[in-house]
């Protein structure tokens, strides 16, 4: 019931916008070139709803982030910003669809960094997604991975795990995920022998480590926090570059001397070739959305660390990460496609 009021407001704004657009059209048709001042930057935008496509199912963390941003953007743009879930192929399906849409700013996509930086290491070239057809608008946040040990394994620190080298089984959240890459590289660097057991996503991997089906597993912090707090699993390492604000006592892999900074980053992107004024307007509305108190507390509640950087920075960072991961897997002769 609470959403009813803003929605009607939004509808009214849409109607107003449509009316204005109609008036402008009429004027243009009459041959009067009235508009056209320099102050018209993005004035014609948006002319309708701005859709954010999510390549994951509704209810997951990517979807929740998209919805949180969409709420703020709708407020700022004055049009509705629906979130459409188009799950499939890790998000490759959605990305390909949006990249092929007209670059008028009405079609956006919420990207997961792993799709660009890690998944291509595991899947065929047809399925690999690159940033070439997209224009990244803004980076949003970072979701950290933690290495967890089951309570029954007796591991308290990463050193305990190293002692057990040889018969370690470790759970991953699937092929071509940050969880798989982070552990494969870490264990290679620390010379720990182990067998990867891939699960379908974070939740079954977590259940497996809680039930001691695997001794360790790496999942995203947001999913694992309640089990960590309940003492059912022991966090050994975080894979973030710096200590995670929500786990201040857990060392990072980088601190321990291993070169494996792996986090999940999210960003908003549009099809390539966006008009400059539209781009400016969109970035403006994203900035407005992430500045709201609601969005800030959303991040806090979901244990997301803000990583709010510009589109250019995102492109540079993700390209660099992709190269780094490629180099790391080459160096340690790791193949993500072999389970």
């Amino acid at each position: 019931m609470t959403t009813l009021a803003p929605r009607t407001l939004r509808t009214r704004r849409v109607l107003l916008g449509a009316g204005a657009a109609f008036a402008a059209l009429t004027l243009a048709a009459c041959g009067g070139n009235v508009a056209g001042g320099a102050d018209a930057a993005g004035a014609d935008f948006p002319t309708g709803p701005v859709t954010i496509t999510v390549g994951q199912d509704a209810g997951g963390s990517t979807d929740l982030i998209a919805r949180a941003v969409a709420d703020g953007m709708a407020e700022d743009l004055g049009v509705s910003v629906p979130v459409v879930n188009r799950a499939g192929a890790n998000g490759a399906l959605a990305t390909e669809e949006v990249a092929a849409k007209p670059a008028d700013g009405h079609e956006l996509i919420l990207l997961n960094a792993s799709l660009i930086t890690i998944t291509p290491l595991a899947v065929s070239d047809d399925e690999a997604v690159s940033l070439d057809d997209l224009e990244v608008l803004a980076g949003l946040s970072q979701d950290d991975y933690v290495l967890l040990a089951s309570a029954d394994s007796g591991f308290e620190t990463f050193d305990d795990l190293k002692q057990a080298s040889g018969d370690v089984t470790y759970g991953t959240t699937g092929v071509g995920t940050g969880s798989q890459l982070a552990q494969a590289v870490l264990f290679a660097q620390a010379e720990v022998e182990g067998t990867a057991v891939p699960f379908d996503s974070g939740s079954p991997a977590l259940t497996a480590v809680v039930g001691d089906q695997v001794q360790v597993a790496t999942v995203q912090l947001g999913e694992a926090k309640s089990q960590i707090d309940a003492g059912n699993v022991v966090p050994l390492l975080a894979f973030s570059a710096e200590r995670n604000q929500f786990l201040p006592d857990v060392p990072t892999a980088v601190e321990e001397g291993y070169d494996v900074p792996v986090s999940q980053y999210r960003a908003v992107a549009a099809p390539k070739g966006l008009p400059e004024d539209v781009r400016t307007r969109l970035v403006e509305s994203i900035d407005a959305a992430i500045a709201t108190e609601t969005y800030r507390s959303f991040n806090e509640n979901n244990l997301l660390t803000p990583h709010e950087i510009s589109g250019e920075e995102v492109t540079a960072e993700w390209t660099e990460l992709a190269e780094k991961y490629q180099a790391l897997t080459d160096e340690y002769d790791i193949s993500l496609a072999e389970g």
Binding site: R86, P198, G211, L336
Partner: protein
């Protein structure tokens, strides 16, 4: 104490007006489609799935569950009055129920069935209340090896106990297993049978397959079947069962409750098998078995109690382990996934409000059904007069829209059409879609759990037998798989030596009936 709080909180969830309303809507729909022959609960849930997208998960499942157990009540009505079972689970009720109706005791049969259904349902809910958290307590011991064994057993039971021809069921299950291999290999990233189509990279989605096979397939098949006009029945007098009737059927109701409860929990079990087993059990126990088929009240009370108990208890494996026991539960599984909830060992602890809300809604649903089914029998019978020409296009349209809205995908709509055609052809040629759908769901579980287990065991299959739960399940698997073979070999041998002496024949007959009993208890 915490669990008691959760149970009470569950009642609070049910008593929210929206949930009560959806519970009522669910049981009324269930009752209606129970009356309509052909349209079963699986098909109805497949068709109505889209209606649940917008509501809370607990509300959605409360309604869908209501449809399932409501159908068990409704199915009886046409069995008794028209000799036309509304549901597969009411087929055996026809034998004695209709015989009673011809003796002018239709009211008695319906009344006893309603009371029996109520008792069976309630007993099963109480069982569910106490047993499910217990099973869920073991849930963390269920690792990949246990799931492997359970999935294997489930597929075997589904394809061998299912109603209809065994060979056809096995063929359908095999096709389901093959379909489950489509999509990216979750262990190596290799693509299998995707034809470079990104829409198939994750495999075929379960919901459109079920919507096609059950929803569209049933609709098409019914259009063909409905040409045989149904005559609306005459008036029914005296629905309230007499004290004598109740006394006569109390034993059957008790046995039906217990039998139904346990048969419902088993993978591959469910309402239909429970009702058949209960009928067989009543007939075997009776002092005068010849009364059966001529209007024995136990022949109505036993199966009708058992099918309702089984419908309820089949929620246990789904809500505690994430394993659907039958086709309808597979659809519930899909409904939960759409809501962003993966049914599994953590469901009871992570979503107690959902678990207890759904369980407790069944108490209320059963009371509602009891109230409705006794005085309102006549009203529901009139539903049979709705023309298929109106019903079929409307339901087909809802199915299509529903398929599209799950994932905003036209590909899924095409899948529904393809599987609708497959489902129609399967029914026409006597194949049940149930084993296909369940093998499809359990197939990916089987594959990934097996490969995961082998990784855990360093490639050695011996590991399956060192873990108590998986070893037990595998032994049961072998027993179930081998028993029918042994029996058929013996029968063939007996047929080859017709000159055997009488005592040997007697012995083999005894063996056979012992085996029968064993199989029923499976």
């Amino acid at each position: 104490m915490e669990s008691l709080q959760n149970v009470l909180a569950g009642f609070a969830v049910v008593l929210e007006p929206t949930n009560l309303l959806y519970c009522l809507v669910g049981v009324v729909i269930g009752m209606l489609i129970g009356v309509l022959p052909g349209l079963g609960p699986a098909a109805t849930i497949a068709i109505l799935l889209p209606l649940t997208y917008g509501v809370e998960p607990v509300t959605a499942i409360i309604m869908l569950a209501g449809i399932f157990y409501g159908a068990q009540y409704g199915g009886t009505i046409t069995s008794v009055l028209l000799r036309l079972p509304g549901e597969a689970s009411s087929v055996v009720t026809v034998l004695d129920g209709h015989a009673l109706a011809r003796q002018g005791r239709a009211g008695t049969a319906l009344g006893v069935a309603a009371v029996g259904s109520f008792v069976g349902g309630t007993v099963a809910i109480i069982g569910l209340t106490f047993l499910a958290p217990l099973v869920a307590g073991f849930a963390l011991d269920f690792g990949p090896p246990e799931y492997t064994a359970l999935a294997l057993l489930g597929i075997l039971l589904v394809s061998t106990i299912a109603s209809g021809a065994r060979v056809k069921a096995l063929i359908a299950a095999a096709i389901g297993l093959l379909l489950a291999t489509i999509g990216r290999d979750a262990f190596t990233g290799a693509e299998r049978f995707t034809f470079d189509n990104l829409s198939m990279a994750d495999g075929i989605d379960f919901v459109p397959v079920a919507m096609g096979l059950f929803g569209l397939g049933e609709i098409l098949y019914n259009l063909e079947e409905r040409h045989r006009a149904v005559h609306a029945p005459g008036k029914i007098a005296n629905v309230w069962p007499s004290r004598k009737d109740l006394k006569e059927s109390s034993g059957a109701v008790t046995r039906g409750s217990v039998l139904g409860f346990f048969l419902g929990i088993l993978p591959g079990g469910g309402a239909t098998i429970a009702s058949m087993a209960a009928y067989a059990a009543e007939k075997k126990r009776a002092k005068d078995p010849s009364r059966f088929g001529k209007g024995a009240i136990e022949g109505v009370a036993g199966p009708e109690t058992a099918n309702n108990a089984a419908a309820t208890s089949s929620f246990i494996p789904l809500l505690t382990l994430g394993i659907p026991a039958n086709a309808t539960m597979a659809l519930m599984f899909g409904a939960l996934l759409i809501q962003g909830i993966t049914p599994g060992p953590q469901l009871v602890t992570e979503h107690p409000e959902l678990f207890w809300g759904v369980v407790n809604s069944m108490y209320i649903g059963n009371v509602l059904l009891l109230i409705m089914s006794i005085p309102l029998v006549g009203v529901f019978v009139r539903i049979l007069r709705v023309r298929a020409a109106i019903l079929a296009p409307v339901t087909a349209l809802i199915t299509m829209i529903g398929a599209y809205t799950i994932n905003n995908s036209v590909f899924d709509v095409l899948l529904v059409v393809v599987f609708g055609a497959v489902g129609y052809l399967m029914k026409k040629f006597g194949f049940e879609p149930g084993p296909l759908v369940l093998a499809f769901v359990l197939g990916s579980l089987l594959e990934s759990s097996l490969r995961r287990s082998l990784l855990m065991f360093d490639g050695s299959a011996a590991g399956f037998f060192t873990r108590p739960i998986s070893a037990t399940l595998l032994v049961v698997f072998v027993v179930v798989a081998v028993l029918p073979l042994v029996r058929s070999v013996r029968e063939r041998r007996a047929a080859q030596n017709p000159a055997q002496d009488r005592s040997a024949q007697d012995r083999s007959a005894q063996d056979r009936s012992a085996q029968n009993r064993e199989e029923e208890s499976v």
